[in-house]
């Protein structure tokens, strides 16, 4: 009741805005920490995947070693000898990792499998699907560079060149195979390397070749039976050993080839971590799925709880503060209201006695002798002063009623000139006492629809102000005009004037232009504000007119003439 909606809005802002900022900051911190947590989780899972990958890498190394040291012949005297063919065919029949065997002589021609009627359908099909490689039209990849100093990964042997070691991919380094130079053939690769892998795509998927250089500079190799390799990898990978989550080994097309772990990922779930498989299976990937329980357990932190507690504490503090301000404010508003009430009450009490004083003074005035000059003079002072008091009380009461929105206008048909004239008559003694020359130029004889008391009070307040502040100008001029649409009353003086900077502010209640100016002058400070409000209620407005010298106020009343008025 003592608090206006605007105040409530301000209080809410004071409480809510800092809370909102705190909440936003808190969320940001919590989210950042989640991010960090997620990254750590991801790193942990990636580490596990790299462990798995190193198992695969070791198997690949073992296979390499077997091929280079034991299985593939190191020398070939005649690349077309039938005995060689028999031996190679036997190798193919007995070694499960070997799908086909091939021999490239040092001129680059494929001598085995032979391009003759002797060849079996399988051998012919091998020639067909590897044709692009021998012609140098396939894209070949070099293995990734080894991380230097990693002794464990170096394959023992006399002729190993560094780039052929199967690097165990160290944590933190994504070693990807690099593209061999365009147009490189296997022979070109064999010139600076002892052995290597080639993977390429044909029909149903990925194919793998392993080749080794012979002492004479020929190349002998095998097409690896990919299925057998996969079976061996699967057999080496853990069948169990994961207490939660799931790891999946996928091929280049994203199809799962093997998986383990108790958790079954939901449809559309993305892997929490992924890692490529070691060369030459670099098209394969290892994915780690985390169960919700796992993720939650890892990411749960006390930070969130702390943030929430802090937030709550801040909210409580702010609310307490706001509440205290509110109480203080309310108290002061109450006190102010009480004071206003008191003043209004006093004015009310004063009004009746004052009316009596005026009444009896005016009666006495009529009953006095005509030639009792002194008596009349004395009575006129009493009447003028009591009128002034009345005006003051009216102003106060009007102010109070305005604040309670109970100020009303009582409209009737009035002659503005008459109203102005009666006001000036009231002030005449006071103005004369101050030596203020008064000029009245009437010009509004057509009656208009307005509130006589209100207009009177407005003019009275303006004139009173001139008397109080502009007496030095010794001049007061009141003029009225009338046009088709409005009636205006101008009150101007030649006093010190009101500086532009104060402009509209003078109409605010209790506003003083400057203390210096009004030092020693009394007054409630509500005159102009009341006058403006009354002007508005009467259907017009009161404004300060810019003038070169002194002050000029203009009261404008919109003229509303009814048919009755016209006839009248």
């Amino acid at each position: 009741m003592f608090v206006r909606p605007r105040q409530i809005a301000i209080f809410l802002c004071i409480v809510l805005v800092p809370l909102a900022i705190a909440a936003w900051l808190g969320l940001k911190v919590a989210r950042d920490e989640q991010q960090v947590g997620r990254h750590q989780f991801q790193s942990l899972l990636e580490g596990r995947l790299r462990d798995v990958d190193s198992t695969i890498a070791r198997l690949i190394q073992d296979i390499e070693r077997q091929f280079v040291d034991q299985i593939l012949p190191t020398t070939i005297d005649d690349t077309r000898a039938p005995a060689l063919f028999d031996e190679l065919r036997r190798l193919r029949r007995t070694n499960l990792m070997v799908r086909e065997v091939f021999v490239l002589d040092k001129e680059g021609g494929l001598t085995f499998p032979p391009n003759s009627a002797d060849a079996s359908p399988d051998e012919r099909s091998f020639r067909q699907r590897t044709d692009a490689i021998w012609r140098g039209r396939a894209v070949l990849y070099e293995p990734p560079a080894t991380a230097s100093g990693d002794e464990r990964t170096q394959v023992q042997g006399p002729e190993r060149s560094p780039s052929t070691s199967m690097a165990l991919i160290r944590p933190g380094s994504e070693a990807t195979p690099t593209l061999a130079e365009q147009g490189d053939t296997v022979l070109a690769l064999a010139e600076h390397r002892l052995y290597g892998w080639i993977s390429w795509y044909w029909a149903e998927g990925m194919h793998l070749l392993f080749w080794r250089r012979t002492d004479e500079g020929h190349v002998i190799g095998v097409e690896v039976e990919r299925i057998a390799l996969l079976a061996r990898i699967i057999a080496k990978l853990p069948a169990a050993g994961l207490d939660d989550g799931r790891v999946v080994l996928i091929d280049s097309r994203g199809h799962p080839m093997h998986q383990w772990g108790p958790y079954e990922p939901t449809d559309g779930q993305t892997a929490a971590a992924r890692s490529p498989v070691t060369y030459p299976l670099h098209a394969w990937r290892l994915l780690h799925y985390a169960s919700p329980a796992q993720t939650k357990a890892f990411l749960a932190s006390s930070l969130r709880l702390n943030l929430i507690l802090g937030f709550v504490a801040l909210a409580v503090a702010l609310l307490a503060m706001a509440f205290m301000f509110y109480r203080d404010y309310a108290r002061r508003m109450r006190d102010a209201a009480q004071r206003v009430n008191f003043v209004t009450q006093v004015s009310h009490e004063l009004k009746t006695p004052l009316t009596n004083i005026r009444l009896y003074a005016e009666l006495l005035d009529t009953e006095l002798d005509e030639d009792d000059e002194r008596g009349h003079k004395r009575l006129s002072v009493i009447i003028a002063e009591s009128q002034r008091l009345t005006r003051l009380i009216n102003n106060i009461l009007a102010f109070s009623r305005n604040r309670k929105n109970r100020l009303e206008a009582n409209k009737s048909l009035i002659h503005i000139d008459d109203v102005v004239a009666s006001v000036l008559e009231q002030f005449a003694p006071a103005l004369a006492a101050r030596d203020i020359e008064t000029v009245f130029t009437p010009g509004a004889d057509t009656p208009i629809h307005s509130d006589a008391d209100a207009v009177g009070q407005i003019v009275a307040n303006l004139v009173s102000n001139v008397e109080k502040y502009a007496a030095d100008g010794k001049y007061l001029r009141v003029s009225t005009h009338q046009s088709a649409h409005s009636t205006s009353v101008r009150v101007s003086d030649r006093g010190p004037g009101i500086p532009v900077t104060h402009g509209d502010k003078v109409f605010r209640p209790f506003y003083r232009v400057s203390d210096k100016l009004t030092d020693g002058v009394t007054g409630t400070g509500i005159g102009l504000s009341i006058a403006r409000e009354l002007a508005r209620l009467s259907g017009g407005r009161l404004s300060l007119v810019p003038s070169e010298r002194g002050t000029c106020f203009e009261l404008t009343l919109d003229r509303t003439i009814t048919n009755d008025e016209e006839r009248a």
Partner: protein, 452 residues
């Protein structure tokens, strides 16, 4: 008395001669130090007397028959991996019967055998890593605890089975994986071709994979390819009650292996061209052919038929058609043995001669193999949705077989004719699933001469 001395001298001279003879006879009597039984190698041709002056095709049948296990000998120890499907489709009766069958297998194994049990659903579980069949109860417990769940990682299951067997891989053991599945493989490689390649790879190492399909939901192409390429058996159990029987048959074979790692090389005459193998995969290079079998079972004959091109030959001539050399691991002697045989054909202008000398056994086997090929063709047509065409092929096949069964008085051909007729009537709707599995099983049985 000079004549007497001469007589004595001559008699005395004969003694050392006689004894020499005896000794050499004795030596000749024992060609091998041990008297282990031998596998019997036969090579025959459909028409031992061929029509002269005409290039023509001929069917050459090479057969190997395992010998009976001598009564006193210990049978070969076994290195066996049981790979059991525990996907959710196995729930209920199926998993119970499977567990029961597995335990029955366990009961028939001895202390010296090695067993491992692998179960798979969407992941693989090595229930019992390869171990000697010592503590049977512990193994039984693990099998009993199997519960169904998840999808089917068949490839991974078989891979682990092969790995477990490889741990104790031994020439002197029977190295075997038995796979039981009731569903489609859906994790990992799952095409028949890929599983076939896995089978071939296992076979190269001497590991045979036998497959048993349960119910109507398993992938028969995949299962037969896997078995075929690794020289294993394939069984079709329509419902879980049949599992025990089939496992028993399979184990019967496993426990009766008499020869392993059988390599057969055939050298044909220079002008004779081998075209293709009818029922098994044959490596043909020029005029050499190469086949290998993982094992031979006691008293069972395994054969393969090669179609060859014989050029026109003058009447009265003889051709050294083929020479075959076999070497294998004899499980009784523990050594590698060699066998040899050869085949001649002669040529005649008289058709009656040709007909009179026709080798009925070879012809029946060859015709059955050809019919199996036709049966396969009908299956492919039905897969493409061409039901009427498939029906026609099967009906024709049945009719041809019927005719041939009369000509050669063959019960085998008659029974396969009936089988084709029944198949032709069951190609539509729900019946097709069962028919397809039956057809695949029968094709496999004919091609591999499976005993059950």
């Amino acid at each position: 008395m000079n004549r007497n001395a001469n007589y004595l001298g001559r008699t005395l001279a004969i003694v050392p001669l006689l004894s020499l003879l005896l000794v050499s006879l004795v030596h000749a009597d024992s060609p091998k130090r041990d008297s282990s039984p031998e596998v019997i190698l036969d090579i025959d041709v459909g028409e031992p007397v061929m029509l002269a002056n005409r290039g023509q095709k001929a069917y050459v049948k090479i057969s190997l028959t395992g010998f009976e296990l001598p009564k006193q000998t210990k049978r070969t120890s076994v290195n066996l991996a049981l790979v059991l499907d525990r996907s959710s489709s196995m729930a209920g009766d199926k998993i119970e019967k499977a567990k029961h069958a597995a335990m029955m297998v366990l009961d028939r194994l001895g202390k010296d055998d090695i067993v491992s049990v692998i179960s798979y659903d969407s992941t693989v579980d090595v229930l019992v890593p390869a171990t000697k069949v010592g503590n049977r109860n512990a193994i039984r417990e693990r099998i009993a605890a199997l519960q169904p769940r998840g999808t089917t990682a068949l490839f991974a299951g078989v891979s682990h089975g092969i790995e477990e067997v490889s741990k104790f891989l031994d020439n002197n053991r029977v190295n075997r994986v038995i796979l039981l599945s009731d569903g489609q493989a859906n994790v990992g490689p799952s095409s028949p071709n890929e599983l076939g390649r896995l089978g071939a790879a296992a076979g190269k190492n001497g590991i045979t994979v036998s497959t048993i399909g349960l119910g109507l939901g398993y992938n028969e192409d995949l299962m037969t390819q896997l078995a075929m390429r690794s020289d294993g058996n394939h069984g079709f159990a329509e419902n879980a009650d049949q599992l025990a029987t089939i496992f028993n048959y399979e184990l019967g074979d496993v426990l009766s292996v008499v020869a392993q790692d059988v390599v057969i090389e055939i050298d044909f005459d220079r002008y004779v061209r081998p075209l293709r193998g009818l029922n098994r995969e044959i490596d043909i290079h020029g005029n050499k052919a190469l086949v290998s079998l993982n094992q031979l079972y006691a008293a069972q004959q395994k054969y393969f038929i090669i179609e060859v091109d014989v050029p026109a030959t003058k009447p009265g001539a003889k051709r050294d058609l083929a020479r075959v050399a076999v070497n294998y691991n004899n499980m009784i002697s523990g050594k590698r043995h060699k066998l040899n045989n050869r085949l001649d054909v002669s040529f005649s202008k008289s058709k009656k001669d040709v007909a009179k000398n026709e080798n009925r056994t070879v012809m029946v086997a060859a015709l059955e193999a050809v019919a199996a090929d036709n049966n396969r063709h009908a299956l492919t047509l039905r897969d493409k949705g061409q039901i009427e065409a498939a029906e026609r092929v099967l009906v024709n096949n049945a009719a041809t077989l019927e005719r041939q069964s009369k000509k050669y008085k063959s019960k085998r051909l008659r029974s396969y004719s009936e089988s084709n007729m029944v198949d032709s009537k069951n190609l539509r709707g729900q019946k097709w699933r069962k028919t397809r599995k039956k057809m695949r099983k029968k094709q496999h049985t004919i091609d591999t001469q499976q005993s059950f």
